[in-house]
Symmetry: C2
Subunit: 201 residues, 2 copies
Amino acid sequence: MTDSGRRRGRPSTGVREAVLAATEEILAEAGVARLSTKEIARRAGVAESSIFYHFTDRLGLLQAVVALHLPRFKDVAEGLRAGEGELRGNLVALVEALEAFYTRIAPILAAVQSDAELRARFATRGAGEVIGPRRGVAPIAAYFAAEREAGRLRADLDVESAALLVMGAAHQRAVFAGLGGPVPGAVGEIVDVLIPGLTAG
Amino acid sequence: MTDSGRRRGRPSTGVREAVLAATEEILAEAGVARLSTKEIARRAGVAESSIFYHFTDRLGLLQAVVALHLPRFKDVAEGLRAGEGELRGNLVALVEALEAFYTRIAPILAAVQSDAELRARFATRGAGEVIGPRRGVAPIAAYFAAEREAGRLRADLDVESAALLVMGAAHQRAVFAGLGGPVPGAVGEIVDVLIPGLTAG
DNA sequence: GTCTATAAGTTGATAGAC
DNA sequence: GTCTATCAACTTATAGAC
């Protein structure tokens, strides 16, 4: 407000960021079960107590990591242009983008699901809201609604069911890919099975 | 071999079973993060060391719990009669059975995904094989193949894609239900969106 | 804001009696 | 097979110097 170059709040030495990065690293490599504040501090090259200074406690840190990633879900749907391009191409791109998203947040999702208390912290705001039933389906359903409005999908299509099918397929592919081995069914073939139900009267 | 009433191996005092039951209980209630051998022993009413006698180590116990549940996936597909009944009814029943299955094993799946070492133990045999890409899709794909053979699905249907879509929808519903709040899209509506792509030429 | 030092409690696992 | 007793290592978290 007063000085122009004056920074608001945290001068930021990068400790907070280093801790978050180290946490994501461990989460992806070893899983929540192996996530300890000691190991995080070691990897981040900071003091263990700094973690508690910035995030209050272990679950606070986990919350921060989740909060960091979930907004990116919105980006997936925002990249879509309903009514433009080829419908099939749009759907393939959507499934692929969703699959990539699910792959990236898989370790974080596992972390949330592995602790009931952490899950409870997100009951009101957080994962439950963003990738959960309500807001999670909404952006994808909105895309389908827009395509429907553009006359490219059947007028009586239940857009939430369509969204759930697409998200489910992408999630399932991400899970399978994570378990190793080839994922059954190419994205194009999945979309081809889906399209008649979206377009036909 | 010699005596008729002679039991083979473990006389079984029920400790093993009590430990497994207690483990599943904690897994469902609190998640893997809160699963300790101490708490298991307390709930099961047995000595902590008995756990190690029966399961070697903590991961061995987790392995046993997973092994206990995964075979039940086969039951889901076996309940289906291809070519019989109404196709739509069969599909609704399939999605519902799959959703119930995913709901039941959700805490166990989370446990597997939360520890890279545990996941590695199942790389060859275990979760990866049974609910993973290969064998996981197979029973469902086999059902679709049978319906296709019965002439109730289009001849060129990619049964693996169809299986992945159905499993994905069921899994997604289970995940959403677990996060709380109403699940978008009724099973019937989802199946209705799916059917044209399965039957139409 | 970041550190060092420290503490109280819990962890998975073993040894050995019965 | 099941127990009691025990362990060292590790866990999250706090206090206080800089």
